[in-house]
């Protein structure tokens, strides 16, 4: 089953996150779907750098082939940005719950009119 490699699974995870984002109405669940999507992208990008038979990109004696270190370094930055966005999203969700006593986007929309 060579089809099931990191690249295709990454795309599938992104689409699952997108599906959740489109259908869920609870604020916290939307943030979770957001984080699922960004993990899907991280999986996709890192598996792009996979070299078959390569070891982790650290120089020790006896390391023959190495995995591509650039995607890992770049995805470290995306992880921390994802952490920041989720922290901010959750803080906003807490604040909306405190003001409107509901986390359901449908009720929030009615409250706005």
């Amino acid at each position: 089953m060579t089809w099931l490699n990191g690249l295709n699974i990454g795309i599938i995870v992104i689409l699952i996150g997108l599906y959740g984002m489109l259908t869920k109405t609870n604020l916290i669940k939307m943030i979770m779907c957001l984080y699922v999507m960004s993990s899907g992208v991280i999986l996709f990008f890192i598996s792009l750098g996979y070299v078959s038979g390569g070891e982790a990109a650290i120089f020790e004696n006896g390391v023959k082939a190495m995995v591509d270190p650039l995607p890992q370094a770049v995805m470290l930055t995306t992880l921390v940005i994802g952490l920041g966005i989720t922290a901010l999203g959750l803080a906003l969700a807490i604040k909306t719950y405190e003001d409107n006593r509901t986390l359901d986007t449908r009720k929030l929309k009615e409250k706005e009119e």
């Binding site: 982790a56 650290i58 470290l76 921390v80 922290a87 803080a91 807490i94």
Partner: protein, 143 residues
């Protein structure tokens, strides 16, 4: 009524310095072993969160005051920029590695990378602690 049992309290109080030590290990060996500024900083933050969970916010607040934490974030960022500009002053480009590289394999072997790791470790640690304080204090009304 303090629900956390005595065992948990003494255990975390004993464990706390070792968690910080592990965080320092990860930061200082960032360029030799897997790890680095962010992971070490997260472990710093989680150590403070662990203390906060067990001891309660007011106790940890005395040791890690919140405005000091947000001040460290500011100063951490300024230090990071300072490293960038010292590179420029010494004639290299911005954020370039101007320190001499020791022989590979030992801790002081990568010049500026170690110092940058330390600054990032502090900033991420204090940032996570501030976020934790804010969300916990916001929930409980006992300001």
């Amino acid at each position: 009524m303090d629900r956390t049992s005595k065992v948990v309290k003494t255990f975390t109080r004993k464990l706390f310095p070792f968690i910080l030590l592990y965080g320092c290990y990860l930061i200082s060996h960032g360029h030799l072993t897997p790890g680095g500024g962010f992971q070490g900083g997260v472990i710093f933050g989680s150590a403070i969160i662990l203390l906060g969970l067990v001891e309660g916010i007011r106790m940890t607040e005395k040791r890690f005051r919140e405005d000091m934490l947000s001040l460290t974030k500011n100063i951490g960022m300024l230090i990071f920029m300072l490293f960038g500009f010292t590179g420029m002053i010494l004639g290299y480009a911005f954020l370039s590695d101007f320190l001499p590289k020791g022989e590979t394999g030992t801790v002081p072997s990568a010049g500026l990378i170690l110092l940058l790791n330390l600054t990032i470790g502090f900033m991420v640690g204090t940032g996570i602690a501030v976020i934790f304080y804010r969300s916990v204090r916001h929930g409980s009304e006992e300001e």
